[in-house]
């Protein structure tokens, strides 16, 4: 794997994903502007800009809520995995929508020749000691800066340069951004606008995202408890046919990383559960075209030795497997990445 820059590699799925994404954003903002101007016609330029601020702001908030729901949804139900495939473009698009929201706010002050009011508001230091009356725009600016950092490091160059664990840890800052955005809305427009739709949207979206993360975390915790090893240190996986064909069962030692034990017809092999690309859960993938395929972004590896097919160079650690008393067992001590370690089932068991 190299840290050299490579342009985004487009394929049909990415183009369709982005097409649906851009169409959805344009449709939402357009519908918001049309309905908003129809129900309460703006009387001047500032009111038009105010309507645009609301359209972009609600769009950015809903996009961020959706982005944060994709991860847990994909862990709870595989049918949501396609949403995860190009989530980074979703995130970068979100940044641009949020940036347009902020620029519209600047324009709102500018057309009224009131930019000094904005400076006064942001530098009203005593207000930072209050809860109601806190300069809520500061919260939005802080969230926007986090989104800028994440959008500018979203490319695989940064993923490779920082390494997946560091990159994933950095991108967890999106949760902080979400918290800041919720408070930005709660201490901002919710204080001025009495329409119940805004707190309802905010509360339902935040509760849904939180619930999904808590449910997914609970499921992950159960799996991370792991299974006890036998006297020789091997872990029981189950009878060969309990491993779905062309798919895997994951096992872990208590406190250890997970191992994906795959069955490909009569062949059984074990790989680390951690994809070399973005640490995706290899064990939740499938065998496609004879290769173990990560469910997140489609990185592929040979089951035999954990190597990506040429010209790719990624390698995963493999594990020894055996069948003892009719049960597949795996040795949790990893072999060097690229070491062949599959076994073949007797024909009557395949």
């Amino acid at each position: 794997m190299s840290v050299g820059f490579q342009a985004v590699q487009w394929n049909r799925d990415k183009i369709v994903y982005d097409g649906v994404l851009f169409a959805g954003v344009a449709l939402y903002i357009g519908a918001f502007m049309i309905i908003g101007s129809w129900t309460a016609p703006p009387k001047n330029a500032a009111e038009w800009i105010d309507l645009r601020i609301r359209a972009l702001g609600t769009c950015a908030f809903l996009m961020l809520s959706l982005i944060l729901s994709i991860g847990p949804l994909a862990r709870i139900d595989r049918r949501f995995l396609p949403l995860l495939y190009n989530r980074r473009h979703f995130g970068v698009t979100l940044f641009f929508v949020a940036a347009l929201h902020a620029l519209s706010m600047l324009q709102w002050f500018y057309v009224q020749d009131a930019l000094p009011n904005l400076v006064t508001e942001l530098t009203d230091w005593p207000a930072y000691g209050k809860f109601i009356g806190f300069p809520f725009k500061t919260l939005g600016i802080a969230a926007l800066l986090i989104l800028l950092l994440l959008a500018s490091t979203s490319h695989d160059y940064w993923l490779n340069f920082l390494t997946p664990p560091v990159w994933k840890a950095l991108h967890m800052a999106v949760y902080v951004a979400y918290g800041l955005v919720v408070l930005h809305v709660a201490l901002g427009v919710v204080q001025d606008d009495r329409h119940p739709a805004i707190p309802l949207m905010l509360g339902i979206a935040f509760a849904t995202v939180t619930l999904l993360h808590l449910v997914a975390g609970r499921r992950e915790r159960a799996m991370d408890r792991g299974v006890d090893a036998d006297g020789e240190g091997w872990l029981a996986v189950g009878p060969p046919l309990s491993i779905p064909n062309k798919a895997a069962r994951s096992v872990a030692t208590p406190g250890g990383e997970r191992i994906a034990v795959y069955r490909d017809d009569e062949k059984i092999g074990a790989l680390t559960n951690v994809c070399a690309h973005q640490n995706g859960p290899i064990g939740e993938g499938r065998i496609i075209d004879g290769l173990v395929t990560c469910p997140w972004h489609g990185y592929q590896y040979r089951l035999e030795d954990g190597c990506a097919p040429p010209p790719f160079t990624e390698k995963l650690a493999t594990y020894r497997v055996r069948i003892k008393d009719g049960v597949v067992e795996v040795d949790p001590r990893p072999l060097p990445p690229g070491t062949p370690a599959t076994i073949t089932l007797p024909s009557d068991k395949a």
């Binding site: 840890a169 250890g256 640490n279």
Partner: protein, 47 residues
């Protein structure tokens, strides 16, 4: 995801939900009562 990353998720979300949820509820209940007079103009009520 690796184990430390999953553990961080599990630790972070309950804390985030509690802190932000509490902030949201407080912001809702502590907001000043709606003014009875006509809404102010944009100039009088800078964003």
């Amino acid at each position: 995801m690796m184990r430390p990353h999953r553990a961080a998720h599990r630790a972070l979300w309950p804390a985030l939900a509690l802190a932000i949820g509490l902030g949201f509820v407080m912001a809702l209940f502590l907001r000043p009562p709606a003014p009875l007079e006509a809404p102010r103009t944009a100039q009088e009520n800078p964003r």
